[in-house]
Symmetry: C2
Subunit: 216 residues, 2 copies
C-alpha cells in the first residue's frame, strides 16, 4: 500500500538462496506498491547476537552485579544503548509492517536473529510493566514470520519425523523444503508469497503476544 | 555418580547471578559425587553464535552458493569444522550428562546458547539422514535444561500474562523469578536443584527428539 513503511529483517548468509529470493521478491512487490522498504540484512551487517555489557554505553546502574535486562531497560530510558540497537529500534518504530525472513534452525530462528530479538526488543521499547505486551512494539503494526525448512511438509506432520509444526511455530508463511523442491515448485512458493504481499494490508494486525513469540 | 562425565553449558554474563549459583552448586554437588564436570561458560568464551562460512576451514564444497547445513555436514565428515565447534562436540561426545543453564530470553534460550545449538549440533554429529534424531548426539546420554525466568510462576500459567509455560518449554528444571524472590526462596531453589542432582543418575535417558528441542 502506497506510503507504508516495511522493515524486512533478513537472516540468510547467501543472496542466491531461496530465502534471498523471498526477500528479493518482497522488496520488489512492496516497492511496486509504493512502500518504503528497509532491509536489515543481519549476516551482511555481522549483527551482534550476544547480549553483553557492551550494549550499554557509559556507566552501568549496578556495576557490582550485571543484570542484562535491567541495564538494557535503564539504558533505553537514558538513550544509552549502543548504536546498532538504537538503529534497529528506530527502524521498527517507523515500520508499519515487520517481516522476518529466515531458514528454520533447530525448530526456531537462527541465533543471529534470536540475538536481534534479545537485544533490540528490550524492556521499555518492546514491553513494559505493567501492561507487558499490550503496550508493545507491535501495537498497531503488522508482523509476519516467513521462513523455510530443510525438510518437506510431510516431515512436519503429526506422524512425521519432526512432529506437527503447529506445535512449535505459529504457521504464518512457511516455504517447505525449497532445496528439495523443483524449480517449478520454488516459483509457485515465490508467487504465493507475492500474492500474500498483495493483500497484506488487509490482514488483521497481530499484537506481540507470547503465542506470537512461541519460538522467539 | 562416581566416574560419570558432565558437561554444563552455561549462558549467563554474571557469576554472581542466580544462574551463576545454579551452575556453581551443580559443579560442587556433581564433583562431590566423583563426577568430572566440564563447564562451557559461553559469555566468558565469547562464544560465536553466528553460523557463517568461517565455520568451515579450507575450501567449500560449493563455493558458488553457500548452504550452511550442507557445508557444515561436509566439514564434519572431513574434520574441517572450525576448532571451537570441534572442541564443543568433543565435550558433548565425552559427556554422560549435558546440562544447559540459562535465563529465559523471549520464551527461549539466549542467542549465544542458540548459536551453540545451531553450530555444534550439525548434521552428522547430532542427527543424520535416515534415522534423524534416533542416531542423535543424546543417545544414551542424559540431558537437562535448567533455566530461570524473569516473571513469577503465576505469570506463566494459563491465566497469566505469559501463558502456560508448558506450551513453550518442556518443564525440566525451572527457577521461577529468583530476582523477585527472597533470599530464603532462592536457597530453597538451589537446594531443590542439588536434590535433583543427587538422584539425576536414576532418571530416564532423554533422547534428542523435536519435543525436547521444542524451544531449541
Amino acid at each position: 500500500m502506497a506510503g507504508k513503511k516495511v522493515l524486512l529483517v533478513y537472516a540468510h548468509q547467501e543472496p542466491k538462496s531461496f530465502n534471498g529470493s523471498m526477500k528479493q521478491v518482497a522488496v520488489e512487490e512492496l516497492s511496486k506498491q509504493g512502500c518504503t522498504v528497509t532491509v536489515s540484512d543481519l549476516y551482511t551487517m555481522n549483527f551482534e547476537p550476544r547480549a553483553t555489557r557492551n550494549d550499554v554505553t557509559g556507566a552501568l546502574s549496578n556495576p557490582e552485579v550485571f543484570k542484562y535486562g535491567i541495564e538494557a531497560y535503564e539504558a533505553y530510558k537514558k538513550k544509552a544503548l549502543t548504536s546498532d540497537i538504537l538503529e534497529e529500534q528506530r527502524k521498527v518504530q517507523e515500520a508499519d509492517l515487520v517481516i522476518f525472513q529466515f531458514p528454520l534452525y533447530w525448530f526456531s530462528v537462527p541465533a543471529i536473529l534470536k540475538g536481534w530479538m534479545d537485544r533490540v526488543l528490550c524492556q521499555g521499547f518492546a514491553f513494559d510493566v505493567p501492561g507487558f505486551y499490550d503496550s508493545g512494539f507491535l501495537k498497531d503494526k503488522l508482523a509476519l514470520l516467513s521462513f523455510t525448512t530443510g525438510g518437506t511438509a510431510e516431515m512436519y506432520t503429526k506422524a512425521g519425523v519432526n512432529g506437527d509444526f503447529r506445535y512449535f511455530l505459529w504457521p504464518l508463511q512457511i516455504s517447505f523444503g525449497p532445496e528439495v523442491s523443483s524449480e517449478e515448485q520454488r516459483k509457485v512458493m515465490l508467487a504465493s508469497w507475492v500474492q500474500r504481499l498483495k493483500s497484506i494490508w488487509k490482514e488483521e494486525p497481530i499484537h506481540c503476544t507470547p503465542s506470537w513469540y512461541f519460538q522467539g
